[in-house]
Symmetry: C2
């Protein structure tokens, strides 16, 4: 049985969500953050040397890193039909876009959000250094791309819900509990609708109900 | 014909390297950084809305993001045999480790390096905030993991050179031209040997010769 070590209100909600979308059985072990510091408890940090969420166990295999965990589950625990239902095949017209958004989220958007938040905290917004300013502002390029991409599209890869949406949802919704940047999403109406649409999925509602029941259904906009 | 838009001394060297490893034909378009600011020139930024390297063209498809570009080339331009030669199959004992390191590099290590560098630049090393300190220090957890992983292993996934190595090489070697952190690699002898071993590959030497001939063969340790 697949074991998901879920750190409360964290990126491991993606793994629970994937299993709920596809109906893959799993055992859930929940760890709560320190109420004062919001950091992971010592037991969670001890699970993996990089000390980040998500972490899964599958027999002798212990694995971390969202992209790796999702690919592992799709290839080891999902049927070919299940896998195809949530990915885009290489012969599909949306294949390159799917790949882009699938990789963009954790490799670029997440880092840009962390960097922006850190720079703002340390400078109070007064950034003199040109390179640093460019890096800190890159996050907004990401939001602008996403806003444009979601015009007349329900999902980021194209016509169906895929792994690219499943990855993207966390940084633009749940992560706003920790780092609410941009401060407002009013300039990104398509992104707002998209967050609502994804948060309304039955599998996501079950995810929150099981993994973070104290939070309520819809992620903070 | 696949077109690789290569920004000098940047992450797009990975794409050239992949094609050199597998013998996939490509056309190289080289763009030089501004000699004063080290930033990409306006023509490079104009290629893609997120303004980062790498960028490729393949007919009507324009694609960015290392992980996406590599997966795209493997699935659209490589034979099944070529693809297998540089990846690890899901039934292999090293599969989970391969997935971990493949995803870890851009999703976690790169961001930790950028964050550490930024925090150090802005604070001069005096970090009061506990969460920020943890984030800035995470990079060293990554190096420790890698050092341990490379004990008695030639490559990070296991016995053969894979996409995981191809991704990992840039942040621990070439990126040291911009952000030399950790300052010294003396505490990581296995990592140093690994950098030397990867830099000595014929396909990598051809990559530097074609993409960044002014740099010389071996990346800065």
């Amino acid at each position: 049985m697949l074991v998901i070590h879920h750190l409360g209100i964290s990126v491991s909600e993606r793994v629970v969500w994937l299993c709920e979308e596809l109906g893959i059985p799993y055992e859930l072990k929940i760890y709560q953050r320190d109420p004062k510091t919001n950091l992971a408890p010592a037991e969670y940090k001890a699970l993996h040397p990089f000390q980040t969420s998500p972490v899964i166990d599958d027999g002798d295999v212990r694995l971390s890193e969202s992209g790796a965990v999702i690919e592992y589950i799709l290839n080891k625990h999902a049927s070919e039909q299940q896998r195809q239902s949530i990915t885009v095949s290489k012969d599909d017209k949306d294949y390159a876009d799917y790949l882009y958004w699938e990789h963009f989220t954790d490799a670029s958007l997440h880092g840009s959000m962390m960097l922006n938040s850190t720079v703002m905290r340390l400078t109070g917004g007064q950034i003199e250094h040109e390179t640093l300013k460019n890096l800190a502002n890159r996050l907004y390029l990401g939001y602008e791309m996403l806003e444009k991409r979601l015009k007349n599209r329900k999902f980021v890869a194209g016509e169906k819900f895929t792994i690219a949406d499943l990855l993207l949802f966390f940084p633009i919704s749940t992560m706003r509990n920790f780092i609410p940047i941009p401060k407002s999403l009013d300039n990104y109406p398509n992104v707002k609708d998209y967050i609502q649409r994804l948060g309304d999925r039955d599998a996501y509602k079950r995810t929150v109900q099981k993994a973070d029941p104290q939070r309520g259904f819809v992620s903070k906009l």
